[in-house]
């Protein structure tokens, strides 16, 4: 499954970041590499973007980007 489908408050581990764009590279540079633990903290008032926690910090990503991040189900 992808990070997009991960419920708020749930933890998972990243399996892979798909896509070959500048964005997937940026996501990896921000620490979203295979094996890292992530948690979805909350969604913004209009449902998008979402706030995730990884490596002890908070990152906001849109659901579209979250979809390219495969996580353990």
């Amino acid at each position: 499954m992808t990070l997009r489908d991960l419920e708020i408050g749930k933890n998972a581990n990243v399996i892979a970041v798909h896509g070959d764009s500048a964005i997937s590279k940026r996501l990896m540079e921000m620490g979203l590499v295979p094996g890292v633990a992530v948690k979805v903290v909350k969604a913004a008032p209009f449902g998008d973007p979402i706030e995730i926690r990884l490596r002890g910090y908070s990152l906001a990503v849109r659901r579209n980007e979250a979809e390219s991040i495969e996580v353990t189900g």
């Binding site: 964005i23 706030e51 908070s58 990503v61």
Partner: protein, 666 residues
């Protein structure tokens, strides 16, 4: 120290670069190392801000270069590209750094260390400055600095700039590494030729090992504090209400706090004008200095308190971490109109000034998203509009309240800001579906933990930005003031007689205007016949439908150079400098009492509102046009922006004035 000096490969001043992630405390450290001894400029050919300062490393002086905040050095954004060029010594006029200080946030070690592993690849000695160490220790985490140093292979200094901790040690360690061959523990080795993803993975693997060896993280969730605040500030319902509330509070505070210093400044400039008038021999020079320079420049510097306050609040919002939350809250709306959430920050900065705002769009990778943001940035009410709004509101709406406690002034201000945002949204929507069509952009943004803002950083930020405003008052506005004064002063139609009274020549007496009208003073007659008056008269037919007379026309023409010039122009036109009344209300009362050639009152609340609407939307700023030309690398975009904004402004002002009249307002 001697053996260090022997190792140095050159004897001139050292060059040291300061690199780090955004929000890592880099600016605070830079300020602490350089004090007020810093210079802000641009890198040649581009508008990436270059901040330099002087620092002492032992007995040698060093040029400290504050690189832009970076997550990576892979040159995907312009900031990263420039930083990478500086580190390789490829930037004209900047020597290759003798050392790099890598600023690393101890509370966000892993991601901050990513940039450090990239810095290792430049062959420049690296010293790690570990910031936020006080917060880290308060959270009861532990770090073994000696082990940390060993596993990284470079010196590490824990610093706390506000407590002056580690500052001397940092200079010492930088002095030690200069001229040495760096021996970091991380190399890409076999991964050097691998794909980008493999490189990133290898770097993070190294980082995980380093952190595991030297850091003991407390199990307590350190981010409890920020998460608790965010439960309210980014709440589904309250979040947006609080955002609006904060903006309203900021504007109301700007108004009430600035009042006293503004009055003092105005009286001060009045006194300076009087003194100059008394000291100087009567004649053209005295007129130039008092009515041109002091009235023009003074009229604008009076707004410095408001501008300082606005910048103060923007700095505080940035430094606390709230600005990123605002982007988080607004992203969905931004993406609805096709803009990037990252456009929110440049647009917010544009409330201070569109120029830094437009420069800040560089963080937006997609060209079309970036151009759409640039095209709407000037709709954000910048500080140069503030004097115009304040003058109009002060003259016609001051002291009124609704519901007993909300001031009409603050509400009108908010309405002007809202109008700009509203039009910007519509224009962005249209642009993104026509000439700048592209799929919705991605959004990846850090939400830094909430922090108590560093007083010194906020203060210095405010001063740097305010200084740019003062510099403009001293250059562009000074020049315009002199030109305007001359346009209004020549050709002469009056004869000066001793005693300071002017007698009007026969042209005025042959005029058939009622002589009781105070507008027929010699000064007004002079202005009417001057070059400025002729210009104003020439455009009067065009601006009549907006309720403006030729005097406002003169001010409008002048304000196309820079918006705030309107205020100084009106001061010159209404002869405020010559007014004997030293009260702060001189310009306001002059506007209220101004009569047109038929003896009718020129300014009504509706005229004031129409003028404000025009100023919200019109492209009246030479500097912005120049920046747009540079950033888009085309005159086409700069001209397009000027034309469509001004046409829109005319249309909206027309609707406001004629609509207001139809509704019975006069």
């Amino acid at each position: 120290m001697d053996d260090i000096a022997a190792n140095n490969h050159h004897d001139g001043p050292l060059t040291v670069a300061l690199a780090g992630n955004p929000n890592a405390g880099k600016t605070t450290l830079f300020n602490s190392l350089t004090g007020l001894n810093q210079k802000v400029a641009n890198y040649p050919g581009v508008t990436v801000e270059r901040k330099d300062g002087h620092w002492r490393v032992g007995d040698r002086s060093a040029l400290l270069i504050d690189l832009p905040g970076l997550y990576s050095l892979d040159a995907t954004s312009l900031d990263e590209h420039i930083a990478s060029d500086v580190l390789r010594g490829k930037v004209e006029g900047v020597a290759k750094p003798d050392a790099v200080i890598a600023v690393v946030d101890a509370t966000n070690l892993e991601r901050n260390l990513y940039l450090v592993t990239q810095l290792f690849e430049y062959g420049v000695p690296v010293v790690v400055a570990l910031t936020m160490i006080d917060v880290f220790e308060k959270q009861k985490h532990e770090i073994d600095i000696a082990k940390f140093e060993r596993s990284l292979g470079v010196p590490v200094v824990a610093v706390n700039a506000s407590a002056n901790r580690g500052i001397d040690e940092l200079a010492e360690k930088v002095g030690d590494v200069i001229g040495t061959m760096p021996e970091p523990k991380f190399h890409l080795n076999g991964n050097a030729d691998a794909g980008e993803n493999a490189k990133i993975f290898a770097r993070y693997n190294f980082i995980s090992e380093v952190v595991q060896e030297s850091v003991k993280h407390n199990d307590l969730d350190a981010h409890n504090f920020s998460e608790k605040i965010d439960r309210v500030l980014t709440h589904r319902f309250f979040g947006l209400a609080i955002l609006v509330g904060i903006l309203l509070l900021v504007f109301q505070t700007i108004f009430s706090w600035a009042e006293v210093p503004m009055n003092l400044l105005e009286q001060g400039f009045g006194a300076i004008g009087d003194t100059a008038r008394a000291l100087l021999p009567e004649g053209i020079l005295a007129d130039l200095i008092v009515d041109g320079i002091i009235a023009g420049v003074g009229g604008i510097l009076v707004f410095l308190p408001q501008i300082l306050l606005l910048f103060l609040f923007i700095s505080i919002l940035e430094d606390t971490g709230y600005m990123a939350r605002a982007a988080f809250l607004m992203d969905k709306l931004m993406s609805r109109v096709g803009l990037h959430g990252k456009a929110f920050l440049p647009l917010m900065s544009s409330f201070a000034c569109a120029i830094p705002g437009i420069m800040a769009t560089r963080t937006i990778e997609d060209r079309r998203d970036r151009f759409a943001t640039i095209m709407i940035a000037p709709f954000m009410s910048c500080s140069a509009r503030l004097p115009v709004y304040t003058l109009m509101i002060g003259a016609f709406f001051a002291g009124q309240t609704v519901l007993g406690f909300i001031s009409v002034s603050a509400l009108l201000m908010l309405a002007m800001y809202a109008l700009g945002i509203f039009v910007a949204v519509i224009v962005a929507f249209i642009l993104k579906r026509t000439i700048l069509n592209s799929p919705p952009p991605p959004f990846v943004m850090e939400l830094p933990p909430y922090r108590v803002p560093n007083f010194r950083t906020v203060f210095q930020n405010m001063l740097t930005r305010a200084w740019l405003f003062v510099k403009r008052a001293g250059t562009v506005i000074l020049a315009i003031s002199i030109i305007l004064w001359a346009l209004a002063y020549f050709p002469r139609t009056e004869v000066l007689v001793p005693g300071g009274n002017a007698s009007v020549n026969e042209r005025a007496s042959s005029d058939e205007q009622p002589t009781t009208n105070n507008e027929l003073s010699p000064e007004s007659e002079q202005l009417r016949n001057s070059y400025a008056g002729q210009l104003g008269h020439a455009i009067e037919p065009v601006i009549r439908p907006l309720g403006f007379d030729w005097k406002i026309g003169v001010a409008l023409i002048a304000s196309f150079a820079a918006r705030e010039v309107l205020v100084s122009t009106l001061s010159i036109i209404y002869n405020v400098g010559k007014d004997e009344n030293e009260e702060s209300q001189t310009l306001i009362s002059a506007i209220r009492n101004a009569k047109d050639d038929q003896g009718k009152t020129v300014w009504t609340p509706l005229t004031a509102l129409t003028l404000m609407v025009f100023f919200v939307l019109a492209m009246q700023c030479m500097s912005t046009i120049a920046i747009v030309r540079r950033e888009t690398n085309s005159w086409m975009w700069a001209i397009f922006m000027t034309v469509y904004m001004t046409a829109l402004a005319y249309f909206a002002a027309f609707v406001t004035f004629q609509g207001g009249r139809a509704l019975g307002f006069e």
